[in-house]
Every structure is written in structure tokens, then in C-alpha cells.
């Protein structure tokens, strides 16, 4: 058994590959501690459509865009993450011999968050004051319950939401949960982070699967030479945060292959590295 903890993030877009991912995770978990963090944006949209809950985006003055997590969407998010995506992962991991334990960030106050305060954003083309958005930023991750479960041979299966300061659910980004979890676990033990995606890794040109970057150097002011758009930007920011917290290895890799985690650890995908201080010209 290795002492090194492997944290794997798996997005909802990879649900078609759940069985192979879980089989691979169970194999890795047989050799050392594993934490799985999952999202489920595609499944959230699907359930919201089934229930007739409109999904809207918020665009902030800062230019970023995020899901408008109003109370109805928060309900759909909980049902999706805790009631659909997670049980399917727990069942699959169990069938492959692992001992998974499904958690949201709320459980045991594992992931705490500060909910967004009243802020201005553009919704459906109009600027509005937003007061009922249940999304926010990670405040802290408590590593104690995770170490407890890992030491008992369990495989935590973690997802949003986090627990807000008023004891309410708060939607936070799953990539950031993965990075924050890897970061706090790294305070005590060596940790590697694998971010599974629906591409071969980070591409120089998103349209060209052949433009895979085997290595990518990020710094405080730059996400390197990747043409990072949309979801990949968030992933690379999370990767950088994990490296800053002492995570020893961060890989963005393909979740659609037969042994996605073991291949990523063996060199597939894109290894993210921190610029050495003297290299970082554009901080």
C-alpha cells in the first residue's frame, strides 16, 4: 500500500465512461488511498429540464459567467449530485470491489463556503441585483474526516454543494473542490491530482486533438501556452492552486480511455507544472 493519496476529479460529461473509470479507480484504490470528486453539470441540466426549472447564466461585471443557482436550481443540484450521479458512482465502485462513501461538501462540514453577497450581474440580457444566488467560494476544507475515511480503507466520493456559513447548501465548482481537497491533504501526506476530461488533455488548439501538450507550465500570472477556453480555464486555475498548496503532481487527462487514471499517472495527458520563480516573467 502506498502512502500517497490520489485525488481524481471526474466531470458529469464523462458519465458514458463511468464503468471503466470506476473499475480503474477501484484498481488504484486497492494499492493506496483514493478520493473521487465529481460534478454533474450535464445531469443537472437534464433534471432541470425534466422538472421545468429554467437554467440561467449570470455574467458579472468582472466578465466571468456562472450558473445562476437560485433556490429551485439548488434543489435540482442536490438531487442531481447526491441523488443521481453519486449513487451511480457508489454502486459502480462497489461492484468493482472498492468501498466508496458518498459525501457532499456539507457532510461533517467537510467543505465550507462563503455564499456570494448581493451583487450585480447580467441575466437574460438585463443587469440585476442578485440576492438569491446560492453559489459561492470555498472557504476551507477540513481534512480530518477525509483522513479518517481513507485510513479505514474507504473511498470518499465527494461533490458540491459545500456548507455555507449559515448552515445552508452553497454551490461551488467541483474542480476547485478537487484542488482544495488535494491541497489540504498534502499538508500531511504526498498527494497527486488527476483531472479527467473529455479530451486527450490540454490542447494547444482545442479543435485539433493532435495538439496535445504533454507538459504545461503555469505561473501566478499565466496559464501557459494552452488556448484555455471555458471549462479548461477553471481546470487550469484549479491545477495551479493545487500546485501552490504543495500537491506533488497534477495531470489533466482523458477520461474516455480504458484505464484513465493509471494511464494519467503513467504519463498520459498533460502534466501541469509550476514555473520556477526565475522563469516567471509575466507575474
Amino acid at each position: 500500500m502506498s502512502d500517497e493519496i490520489t485525488v481524481v476529479k471526474c466531470g458529469g460529461g464523462l458519465s458514458a465512461h463511468r464503468e471503466t473509470i470506476c473499475q480503474d479507480l477501484a484498481a488504484v484504490a486497492a494499492g493506496g488511498p483514493v478520493v473521487l470528486v465529481h460534478g454533474g453539470a450535464a445531469q443537472l441540466d437534464e433534471l432541470a429540464a425534466q422538472l421545468g426549472v429554467p437554467q440561467r447564466r449570470l455574467r458579472t461585471p468582472g466578465g466571468s459567467s456562472s450558473r445562476y443557482t437560485d433556490p429551485a436550481t439548488l434543489d435540482v443540484l442536490l438531487m442531481t449530485m447526491a441523488g443521481r450521479v453519486k449513487p451511480a458512482l457508489v454502486a459502480s465502485l462497489s461492484r468493482h470491489g472498492a468501498r466508496p462513501m458518498g459525501l457532499t461538501g456539507m457532510d461533517a462540514g467537510l467543505v465550507t463556503a462563503r455564499r456570494a453577497g448581493a451583487h450585480k450581474a447580467v441575466v437574460d440580457g438585463r443587469t440585476r441585483m442578485i440576492r438569491d444566488d446560492h453559489s459561492g467560494r470555498i472557504h476551507a476544507v477540513d481534512p480530518a474526516p477525509l483522513h479518517l475515511l481513507l485510513d479505514a480503507g474507504l473511498l470518499p466520493v465527494l461533490s458540491p454543494p459545500a456548507l455555507g456559513t449559515e448552515g445552508e447548501p452553497v454551490n461551488v465548482d467541483a474542480d476547485r473542490i478537487a484542488a482544495a481537497v488535494a491541497g489540504v491533504l498534502a499538508e500531511r501526506r504526498p498527494v497527486r491530482l488527476v483531472l479527467l476530461t473529455s479530451a486527450p488533455g490540454v490542447l494547444r488548439d482545442p479543435e485539433d486533438p493532435g495538439s496535445l501538450l504533454p507538459r504545461l507550465t503555469v505561473s501566478a500570472g499565466s496559464l501557459g501556452e494552452a488556448d484555455a477556453r471555458g471549462g479548461m480555464t477553471a481546470k487550469l486555475q484549479a491545477a495551479r492552486a493545487a500546485l501552490d498548496s504543495g500537491v506533488s503532481q497534477v495531470v489533466v487527462a482523458d477520461g474516455r480511455i480504458t484505464h484513465p487514471v493509471r494511464e494519467a499517472l503513467a504519463g498520459a495527458g498533460t502534466r501541469i507544472e509550476k514555473a520556477a520563480p526565475f522563469e516567471s516573467g509575466n507575474v
Binding site: T60, P61, G62, G63, S64, S65, S66, A116, G117, A118, H119, K120, R126, T127, R128, M129, I130, R131, D133, S135, G136, R137, D173, R176, A234, Q237
Partner: protein, 55 residues
């Protein structure tokens, strides 16, 4: 449809169907106003956002 700016009392133009919590800008003093009631239409000076919450 118009509403009086609570800051400078200038007339502020309102779209056909204003929405609750919508932000309007006063053309006169450039202040940001929030629609706090639809019927009757009422606006108030919009609070400062605590910070940019985008990630």
C-alpha cells in the same frame, strides 16, 4: 415610462417591462438605481456589490 431618480430627481427612462431587482442608470447623475417594486414602480439607489463574485 419614467421614474424620478432618488438622488438627483431627474427623470429616468424605464424599459417596457421592468423586472424586479433590475438595475437602471440615471442619465443625469450616472447613479445606479434598483427596481424595488413593480406596482407601483419604485426605485432606490442600488447597493454597492460586496465584491466581484465571479471566479
Amino acid at each position: 415610462m419614467n421614474v424620478a431618480c432618488p438622488e438627483c430627481v431627474a427623470d429616468v427612462k424605464v424599459a417596457q417591462q421592468p423586472e424586479l431587482n433590475e438595475i437602471l442608470e440615471c442619465g443625469e447623475c450616472a447613479g445606479e438605481l434598483e427596481v424595488i417594486s413593480l406596482d407601483p414602480l419604485m426605485v432606490a439607489v442600488a447597493p454597492e456589490a460586496e465584491e466581484d463574485w465571479g471566479e
